[in-house]
Symmetry: C2
């Protein structure tokens, strides 16, 4: 029923859709100007101008004296409300923080969104050197420990998410299809995925899935740390803590 592909689903209001495009574009490129948006979205300038004026009037974006646009106050209000309304984030946040405190490393909550993994909550420890995480940042599903999200999908859906050619990020990146499928199989068995520098050199990342009762994957949580201070024993400890945290989140999501 759900068209995952780009089949244009009717019944959506195009002008609203474009307005959302504009809004998300401003979110991604602060201090962007009208012409650039117009170019990137591939819509006429008058159209984009009307969109921006509408968004501005409601405080979703703000125009500087220099004519550049940023997100506005209403967007802050919206986001704050959203954090309390999205069950997954509300429930996982304190658990993620506890996890981060115990490991003293960066922890993230990630979901599948539009064929990528999307960070929707994070914890960063108070120490000088740490892995940086950012809400809204997208990463591929087929590389690094986030492939745990892939591993727990039905094989059919899984295939659709894996591109024909696997781009290489580092020496450790898996670029062979058969090897990737083998790895996914292992991940599914072990319930954990560890990446040693598959996406970024010198970074170890450990992810486990957050599962619903029916076994479907809802999200992934992970701990990421610099390789130089991460022994095998740490990875093992992180794994246990992650599995514990994931179980807690699953339970509380129960409803």
């Amino acid at each position: 029923m759900h068209d995952v592909a780009k089949e244009k689903t009717g019944d959506i209001i195009q002008s609203v859709d474009v307005a959302i495009d504009v809004l998300l574009h401003v979110a991604k490129h602060p201090d962007i100007r009208l012409s650039d948006i117009s170019r990137n979205i591939e819509e006429t300038k008058p159209r984009i101008l009307r969109m921006l004026r509408t968004l501005e009037q409601r405080g979703l974006v703000r125009k500087s004296k220099m004519g550049t646009y940023r997100l506005g106050n209403t967007a802050i209000v919206l986001g704050t409300a959203a954090s309390t309304q999205v069950d997954l984030v509300r429930i996982a946040s304190p658990i993620l923080e506890e996890l981060g405190q115990k490991t003293n490393e960066t922890a993230q909550l990630r979901i599948i969104d539009n064929g990528e993994s999307l960070c929707i909550a994070k914890f960063e420890p108070m120490r000088d050197l740490r892995v940086q995480a950012m809400i809204g940042r997208r990463r591929p599903l087929f590389a690094g420990s986030y492939k745990v999200l892939l591993a727990f999908l039905q094989p059919q859906v899984q295939m659709q998410m894996i591109p024909a050619t696997l781009p290489r990020f580092t020496n450790s990146t898996i670029t062979n299809h058969a090897k990737l499928l083998q790895e996914l199989e292992n991940v599914r068995k072990n319930g954990v995925c560890v990446s040693y520098g598959e996406v970024s050199e010198q970074l170890v990342s450990v992810s486990v899935p957050v599962l619903a009762f029916d076994g479907s994957v809802i999200a992934a949580i992970n701990v990421a740390a610099p390789a130089f201070r991460t022994q095998q024993s740490d990875v093992n400890r992180y794994t246990l803590l992650l599995k514990d945290a994931a179980a807690k989140i699953s339970a509380r999501l129960g409803w």
Copy 2:
């Protein structure tokens, strides 16, 4: 033309405007259903349905199995991005936290928005009993310590923001126009406004303005505390800390 009071500025896209209405409505009323939105916004159900579908497809709202709507993941991402893009919030946040730590009471950052004061950042101390603050919450401009925002406006603009009759919240609320103007004069002189239960009984609130170089008011910061543990000496201390914090914010906003 049936524009009575608020001359609608042309050049805005109505369907986008209504969609924003819907979005903000969902933000304010989590788990609302189609019919209720339709009633409240006063638009037909098919229209709202089209709006919601468009918003849902982009992840701004999410529909539960029961047919109710909440904000979605995209809204979280948007809000997080906004927090880093709005200068005032980005700069004031750490200063607000420092202020809150020192006072061990709730601190807020508020701006004028649509004739009301709007909370766009906050700090709440870690103690059992504290004043609750909420980003997005609106309060009147003409009562409580937030009238500091009013006090630093040009008299002309000021008048437009003061309603003909001043509603009473508590026994201490100022409901007399002349008295209010007198109070605003005092506030402007002293650079601080203290409310002893003007809006909520048993609550003391101290606000100071955040000013631009030209003396125009950008925002207000305040500390709010239960009356029973707030001596005059505390109010004095808060005032000093607030003025210090406001000066810091002003300076860093300098550019």
